[in-house]
Symmetry: C2
Subunit: 426 residues, 2 copies
């Protein structure tokens, strides 16, 4: 029985009852002989309430102070959780990100972890304590200021601590039962996945799956930490995410499932730069302007140029929230780049099919497009990686498209486990 | 223009509007050329809400975790205050007690400051910042755990920082206009005091005046830091508390007022140990039992023993909240101490007259008793120090007694400043 890192999100500790329920679950792990480190988020809506307060005093809260403010949230939940555990007769100590040795860079509101020095956590464990650590927060290496890790930061804290403490597993407790083959709110027949490779999980996370964020999975993959995503309410086994399939998940010599799941995302918009001269350096000029405006983009598509005009169109997708910034940046550089016009469309959706198996199984792409066609869904953009195919469609078409693809690839819960494709060429 | 430490209590920063109002006041001090360090308490009811949460998860929250929890309160207010100041175009940085170098012992929930090493505050000031510091909290010297200073802790933080930074003045902003000659809720004619000696302020604080706590005044006296207690709402000059009368407060060579004020306290109870053998070691045995139970006591009175029985009675007062503990401790040691019975009375009140002038003005005691007698108030216990006379009466008699004494000593706002007594012997 080794060391386990458990992470509980805000919905699991939303009130005193939730905290007491989580405390019992933690004590069970301890009773089973594990050393237990718990990473906890702020209670329920605490963070939103603090952000609301900040907006009341300042329209543009400074990063350093904003981080100082937000970190009060985990301070409350971690102290309460430690009290609740002690009330069950077990020893517990809570630690801030700084006390736990979570060292970050100085980029406030979205700091990156650059080192983890968990000396105090190790000592607390050696003395028989359960260690409770504030998620989402750290301390900057240079100025010793309090920082926060940005969205999904508590998951990253958990994985980083698991890596630094050489934990057996990092358990991410949440309000769903695990990772599903598609969003169960859209696809009623979506199945819970028992195991998924880190590689496939990364693609799902990039493609709109909300259960685990890309950054956390990437960290776990790099340090080879198995993640177990599971429900803090049901206590049932959830989804294992790891680089290699563990023996507990069936014969690990058998090939992976071809397709892990279908992800979708309706949070993006599409920008099309129309009438770009088809000559070297044009794409670079466009995306340098975008990068200088600190806009993150997702898909980029360029088709062959029209022979008659020598002009081409370049499209890209990006979060709707970044749309204004991107358009402004391009308009400002219109003369330098030399395009005709811009089109902006925020009524789009993206559907992605993910699975490492598609590398060696030709025909997946064709089957994917056939399924969409049969559902009457028009494809606007296509982009692929080695283990993913993504298309952009009208946002209204997304639910039907996801269900059609999920069913076509035999992922529905009443169908067989997975089907093998071949022969028609990808 | 030197360095000023300002302290704002929870009622001054109860909501976003309060924080913005306080931010303006701080910026004014900065514009006047001062270096400004601000100590801030938790917003309004935050601390009570956190205590309530703690009680929901554990009937006996552990000290270390309780402190971790409570310190979230100032973290929120200080970050918001820094944001509000920056929004007014001035630079501000917030610091936790630990970051500000407030080093304490390890007694959770009521830690004592043992050192202040404000290196980061000094740096922030030198860089042109307004420094915002969390009141009420520190970090333990040995274990590096977060501690809280107990009741009135933020005032103590402010004075301790003022001493360590060699500030010109420590301004304590509160929701009243200053220190009054009596509680204005009881005595309508109570006058605001412009200046009071630290010595007299200490006695008032011990005698029930709530404006400043004994501990904070004691710290200021030891390090010779002038305190200016004033309203964060009106902005008017309040009450100066210092060891020597400053020249700004009129001719400081003139004698102090004889009487500074009248304090009262109805939060105490009286315990009488009846039938104590009048022999050496008896009082010691009683108060050793009390001390071992960690009960703080206030007045102690023993009268001459009855000649016929050789037995005496010993009475003492203590906070009502400690009554149960004291009675239990004495009952448990009844055989060892050897008394007849215990009497417990929580319907008492204490009225105290305070003023260094009484040392050299005979007749004060007589006038005090005459005033009480004229008001028909019966005296149950008497206790005096060099500069204070306190009596215990029925709790119901307290308001009338305070008004009578206040008026008799010429403290009413429509009477002359002070009157000189003499001739009848104290």
């Amino acid at each position: 029985m080794g060391l386990v890192v458990q992470k509980y999100g805000g919905s699991s500790v939303a009130d005193a009852e939730g905290i007491k329920r989580v405390a019992k679950r933690i004590v069970e792990a301890k009773k089973n002989g594990h050393q237990v480190v718990v990473v906890v988020s702020a209670m329920g809506d605490t963070t939103d309430e603090l952000i609301d307060l900040a907006e009341q005093v300042s329209p543009m809260p400074a990063g350093r102070e904003f981080d100082m403010l937000l970190t009060a949230g985990e301070r409350i939940s971690m102290a309460l959780l430690a009290m609740a555990i002690k009330n069950l007769g077990h020893e517990a100590q809570s630690f801030t990100g700084s006390q736990a040795g979570v060292i970050t860079d100085s980029v406030h509101n979205k700091a990156r972890i650059i080192d983890v020095t968990p000396g105090r956590i190790r000592t607390a464990l050696d003395e028989g304590n359960i260690a409770i650590v504030a998620g989402f927060q750290g301390v900057s290496a240079d100025k010793k200021d309090i920082t926060t890790l940005g969205r999904g930061g508590s998951d990253t804290t958990a994985v980083a601590l698991a890596a630094a403490l050489e934990a057996e597993v990092c358990e991410i407790y949440t309000d769903v039962d695990g990772v599903f083959t598609a969003d169960p709110r859209v696809v009623k027949k979506a199945r819970k996945i028992d195991w998924i490779s880190s590689e496939d999980m990364l693609e799902l996370a990039s493609s709109g799956s909300k259960v685990l964020l890309h950054r956390c999975v990437e960290y776990a993959r790099r340090y080879n930490i198995p993640i177990h995503v599971r429900s803090s309410f049901s206590g049932l086994p959830g989804t294992w995410v790891s680089n290699e399939k563990p023996e507990s998940q069936g014969d690990h010599k058998v090939e992976h499932a071809i397709i892990s799941g279908v992800a979708h995302d309706v949070s993006e918009a599409k920008v099309t730069v129309v009438g770009v001269p088809d000559k070297p350096g044009e794409a670079a000029a466009i995306f340098r302007a975008i990068a200088d405006a600190e806009v993150n983009i997702d898909m980029v598509v360029q088709n062959v140029s029209a022979v008659t005009t020598g002009l081409t169109d370049i499209s890209f997708t990006l979060p709707k929230t970044e749309g204004r910034k991107a358009i402004d940046a391009l308009e400002k550089n219109k003369a330098g780049i030399g395009f005709d016009s811009l089109r902006y469309d925020d009524q789009i959706g993206k559907i992605s099919l993910v699975g490492a198996g598609m590398k060696t199984n030709p025909g997946v792409t064709a089957s994917f497009f056939e399924a969409l066609s049969n559902a009457g869904v028009n494809i606007e953009l296509i982009s692929t990686s080695e283990i993913r195919i993504s298309v952009v469609t009208r946002a209204d078409d997304v639910p039907e498209a996801v269900r059609a693809v999920h069913s076509a690839f035999g992922l529905d819960s009443d169908s067989d486990e997975a089907v093998v494709y071949g022969g028609t060429g990808r």
